[in-house]
C-alpha cells in the first residue's frame, strides 16, 4: 500500500471520489443560482428552501401516492418548478425595477415562510427515504466500497449540468436568454416575450434545485433545515466562481467539493470553513471571482 502525504493512497482516492459527490450538489445548486442571477439579477435566497422542497415532494409522492424514486426524479422538479413560477409571477416580478437587494430580502422572507411551514407540518427530526432498489448495494473498487447510488449522483449531476450548459450555449432559446441577459429591451423589441422567459428561467433554476433535493433525499436526512445548511456554502461557492459563467459555476462546485473532501482527510476540523477561507483568498486576489467578469 503506497502512501501519499502520509495517507494511504486508496483512502485518498476514496476521499477524492466522495468529495466529487458532494461537489455534485454544490455544482447543481450554484448552477441554478447562476442561471437565475444571470437573467433576473437576484440572489435567490430561497434556493435552499426549494432544494428542501424537492426532497419533501419526493417523500410526499412516495408516502401519499406510492410513487417511488424514479417518478419523484421526474415529477418533483416539475412540481417545485411550477411553484417557483408562481413565486416569480406573484412576488419576484414586482421587484425588477428596484435595487437587487430587495430581491435578496424578498427571497429570504420566502425561505423563512417555506421552511417554517414544513417544520410545522413535518417536525424537524427528519423523514426516512430509501435508496431505490435498482441503485442499492455497492461496488468494491479495491480502494473503497462505492455505493452505487453515490456513483449515480455524480453521473446524473454531471449530465444535468452539461444539459443545462448545452441549452444555454448551443440552442436558439439559449441564445435569446443570453441576449436578454445583456440587453432585455432590445430582445423584447425583436418580439421575444422576455417576461415569460424570465419566469420560465426562474422555474428552471428552481427545478434544478429540486432535482438536487431528490438526489439528496436517499442519502441525507430529509428535514426542513437540510437546505439552509447547504445554501450558505453554496453562496461562497458562487462568490468564488463568479456568477458570470455557467461552466464556471459547475467547475467551481465540483472543484470545491474535492477540496473539502481532501480537508476531511488532513484536517477534518476545518472542513466546514475551508470553502470560506478560499473565498477570502479569491476575493483578495481576484475580486470578481475565478470565472467572473470584473
Amino acid at each position: 500500500m503506497e502512501d501519499l502525504f502520509g495517507i494511504p493512497a486508496p483512502l485518498l482516492f476514496g476521499q477524492l471520489l466522495l468529495g466529487l459527490i458532494n461537489g455534485a450538489f454544490y455544482a447543481m445548486l450554484s448552477l441554478g443560482l447562476a442561471v437565475i442571477f444571470g437573467l433576473l439579477n437576484i440572489v435567490n435566497m430561497a434556493h435552499g428552501a426549494l432544494f428542501m422542497m424537492g426532497a419533501f415532494v419526493a417523500w410526499l409522492l412516495l408516502d401519499k401516492l406510492g410513487l417511488g424514486y424514479w417518478w419523484a426524479l421526474l415529477l418533483s422538479p416539475f412540481i417545485v418548478g411550477a411553484f417557483g413560477v408562481v413565486l416569480e409571477k406573484l412576488f419576484i416580478s414586482r421587484l425588477y425595477k428596484l435595487d437587487h437587494l430587495y430581491g435578496l430580502l424578498l427571497t429570504f422572507g420566502l425561505a423563512l415562510v417555506i421552511e417554517g411551514v414544513f417544520r410545522n407540518e413535518f417536525g424537524s427530526s427528519g423523514l426516512p427515504y430509501r435508496i431505490p432498489p435498482e441503485l442499492a448495494g455497492s461496488w468494491d473498487l479495491d480502494f473503497m466500497f462505492l455505493p452505487i447510488y453515490r456513483a449515480w449522483v455524480v453521473v446524473f449531476a454531471l449530465v444535468a449540468c452539461l444539459a443545462t450548459w448545452l441549452v444555454i450555449e448551443k440552442t436558439r432559446l439559449g441564445a435569446y436568454l443570453r441576449a436578454a441577459t445583456e440587453n432585455a429591451p432590445l430582445v423584447q423589441a425583436f418580439g421575444v416575450n422576455v417576461p415569460r422567459m424570465v419566469t420560465l428561467t426562474y422555474g428552471a433554476g428552481v427545478a434544478l434545485a429540486a432535482l438536487g433535493g431528490v438526489l439528496a433525499a436517499p442519502i441525507y436526512s430529509v428535514n426542513p433545515q437540510m437546505g439552509s445548511n447547504l445554501i450558505i456554502v453554496v453562496f461562497a461557492v458562487v462568490v468564488i466562481g463568479g456568477m458570470g459563467s455557467i461552466l464556471g459555476a459547475v467547475l467551481t462546485g465540483f472543484g470545491l467539493g474535492i477540496v473539502e473532501g481532501m480537508t476531511k482527510v488532513f484536517y477534518p476540523e476545518a472542513s466546514a470553513t475551508v470553502i470560506f477561507v478560499i473565498m477570502v483568498i479569491v476575493l483578495l486576489a481576484r475580486p470578481a471571482g475565478l470565472f467572473g467578469r470584473a
Binding site: 458532494n22 417554517g116 427530526s125 442519502i219 436526512s221 428535514n223 437540510m226 445548511n229
Partner: protein, 426 residues
Amino acid sequence: MATDQRGRMPAGAQLSDASGIGRRGVLGAAGALAAAGGVITAARAQAPTIRLGVLTDMSGPYRDPTGPGSVACTQQAATEMANRGFTVEVIQADHQNKPDVGANIARQWYDQGVDAIVDVPTSSVALAINGIAREKNKVFLNSGAASSDLTGSACSPNTVHFTYDTYMLAKGTGAALARSGGDTWFFITADYAFGHALQRDTSRFVEAAGGKVLGAARYPFPATTDFSAFLVQAQSSRAKVLGLANAGTDTSTCIKQAREFGLTRNMKIAGLLMSFMEVHSLGLPTAQGLLMTEPFYWDLNDRTRAFAERVRPRMPGQAMPTQVQAGCYGVTMHYLKAVADMGAVQAKADGRAAVARMKAMPTDDDAFGQGRVREDGRKIHPSYLFEVKAPAESRGPWDYLKIVATTPAEEAFRPIAEGGCPLVRS
C-alpha cells in the same frame, strides 16, 4: 438532550421569548399560555394549587423525543396525583433551544407563581434555568438535558436531574460493550464540547474494561451533512465498534450513511445519545443492530407496559413514551408525592425544602421502579444497553429494542464524590 442544534435550526428559528410587557401583558400572556397548555384540573375552592410549567422543545429537533409527549406525561402524573389536598395545574412553553428565550420564560413563570419547571431538554437552556430556580428558590425538575454538570459543578439544592446524563450514557454503552467483546472502537465525534465529553468519557470506560480506541474523526458541527469521508476512515480502522458521539439528525444521518457504505457488515454501531424515537423515524431495516443506552423502555416489565398504556391516549400520535418523556412522569410523580407529604403551602413557599423532601423520600413510580434522589440532585436507577431488533424479530409497531446488558443503579451514574458538587461537601 445534550446538544443544541442551533445551526440546524431552520432559517427562522429566531429569537422570541416571553419576557413580559407590563404587568397586564404578563398576565395576559400567562392566561394565553395556560389556555394553550390546557389547565388540567379545575380549581377547587380554597385548595392550594401547585403549578407546573413544562418548558421544552415544541418546534425544534428534539420535539419528538420531548415536546408534547413530555407535556402529556407530566399531565399523566398530575392526574394520578389528584385529590391529595391540592390541585395541580400544568402549563407549557417552547424554549426553542435558546437559553435566553428559556431564561425569560422561566423568570416570568416563577414570578407568576409557577412552582416547578419540568423537562428542559438542551443543556444550555437547562443550565440557565438551574441558576434561576436557585435564585428564586423554586424547583427545577430536569428530565431532558444531558449535561452531568447539573449534578456536578453546577449542582443546586433546587434541582433534581432525573433521567440520564452523559456519564450514564458513556458508561452504559462503553463499559458494557467493551466487556462483551466490542473492545476496539472508532469514534465519529461532533467537534464541540458535548461531543468531546461524550467521546472522552466513553473512551475511559472502554479502556478501563480492557478495550482500545483505534481512532476518532472530529467533524465540524453543525455544518456537516455528509459523513461518508469519516465513515470510510472508520471502516479502514478495522475497529469492531463505531461510536457516534453526536446527537439528533447528525446521528440519524450517520446511521443511514453507515448502512449505505456497508459498515454494518463488520462493525457494531453505538449511538451514544439516541432514543428509540430515532429508531422509529429511521425504520427497523436501517436501524437494526444499533446499540444504545437508555434507562427506560416501554417494554421493560409489567409496570412500564402499564404506564405506557395509561399515557398513550394523551400522547401525540398515540406514540410510546421515550425515556425523557417517561422521566417527566417519574419526576413529577415524585415531586407531587413530596408536596403531599410536606403540605402544598410549605412546598410552594420553599423550593429548597421541597427538593430536600424529595431527596429524603425513596422514589417509586411505574416507569422507573424504585430508586432514590442523591444529595447532589442526581436520581439513581439502572441503565440498560439495548440493541435494535431486526425487522423479523419485531412483533408489532413500537417493538424495537431488546436488552443486551444492564448496569445496576449504584454503578450507572457518576460516583457522588467525583462530581465536584459543592453541596456534598457541606
